[in-house]
């Protein structure tokens, strides 16, 4: 059997040059037999894995796309667009009505109170029955 040309030396720990050489080879920027053998080894390892089922990839892509659509902020329907302006206006009108109603309800009471105060004031101007 043909001996596999294998890249790299036999040193115990990697030096910067070894890592740089490996990186360059795998990026396709390295040159020479060592770089080629790194690429060959990577190809040999990668080809061992069976390819991904195209149906699975398509389904996964669709699942992710569906998740994205669900998480996207929803646009209001054009026909209901008038609601966007009507709702705040309705709220403001409601507040205004509530204030007017409160004034109208409170007004007779105030009048009553003023009448009571007026009566009291008139009463206090009379001579006291008690010794001063």
């Amino acid at each position: 059997m043909k001996v596999i040309p294998f890249p790299g030396g036999g040193s115990a720990s990697p030096d910067e040059a070894w890592l740089t050489e490996l990186e360059a080879a795998l990026n396709g920027t390295g040159e020479g037999s060592v770089a080629d053998s790194w690429l060959q080894l990577r190809e040999d390892v990668r080809v061992l894995a069976p390819p991904m089922d195209p149906d699975f990839k398509r389904e996964l892509g669709q699942r992710i796309a569906g998740r994205r659509e669900r998480s996207a902020p929803k646009q209001p329907h054009r026909r209901l667009g008038w609601l966007r302006t009507a709702v705040p206006a309705f709220a403001a009108l409601s507040v205004a009505f509530a204030v007017i109603a409160a004034v109208l309800i409170a007004a007779p009471c105030r009048e009553r109170r003023e009448i009571v105060f007026a009566l009291c004031a008139r009463g206090s101007s009379r001579p006291s029955l008690w010794p001063g």
């Binding site: 080809v47 061992l48 894995a49 069976p50 390819p51 991904m52």
Partner: protein
């Protein structure tokens, strides 16, 4: 947003803070789905489990895309870190060694000497890879299937860059020795 590694000095602050937007995610999916699947099936030896890991990795990354901190790794490094955790969880859950479904033979014309050489070589690599301890096999698979840079590999493994370099060197040295040993055994046989 770039999917490649950035050194701290070169990457602008804006780039570092950039989130993984939909377009970048789609690109990452197109470019890396096969790599994640290849890594997972090589580690787990089971296509169904590999599909589960691949789906989980992309879905988790998608959910976490707004929280990604580019300073702490590229999206690709995050993706493979998630895939790695999921694959290791799967191995732990099953409490068994990976069962290889990797192809034993190549189809097609096997008559030519070159093809036979390729078959022999890949069989040797397959046996050598299987003989590696899990800890070293996953480094090789991450590097080759993920096409990760050394800094991305470090992020995916959750170790320092120098530690990742040491592990990679050790794993590839062992792979080399295992290949040579397998060759010697075949020669003797």
């Amino acid at each position: 947003m770039s999917l490649t590694d950035h050194s701290g000095s070169q990457a602008s602050l804006a780039t570092e803070r950039a989130k993984l937007d939909d377009e970048a995610f789609d690109r990452l999916f197109r470019e890396s789905a096969a790599g994640v699947h290849g890594y997972a099936i090589s580690l787990l030896g089971n296509s169904s489990a590999a599909e589960d890991v691949t789906a989980l990795a992309f879905e988790r990354l998608y959910r976490a895309r707004a929280r990604l901190n580019h300073r702490r790794g590229t999206p690709r490094a995050w993706l493979f870190a998630i895939a790695r955790n999921a694959a290791l969880d799967e191995l732990r859950r099953r409490r068994r060694q990976p069962q290889s479904e990797l192809p034993e033979e190549f189809s097609g014309d096997q008559d030519s000497e070159a093809v036979l050489e390729h078959i022999a070589r890949r069989a040797t690599v397959r046996d050598a890879l299987s003989a590696l301890p899990l800890r070293e096999r996953e480094v090789v698979l991450l590097k080759f299937h993920g096409q990760l840079s050394n800094s991305e590999l470090a992020k995916a493994l959750g170790v320092s860059e120098s530690n990742a370099g040491t592990r990679l060197h050790r794993a590839l040295t062992r792979l080399r020795e295992a290949c040579l040993q397998a060759e010697r055994q075949e020669e003797i046989a």
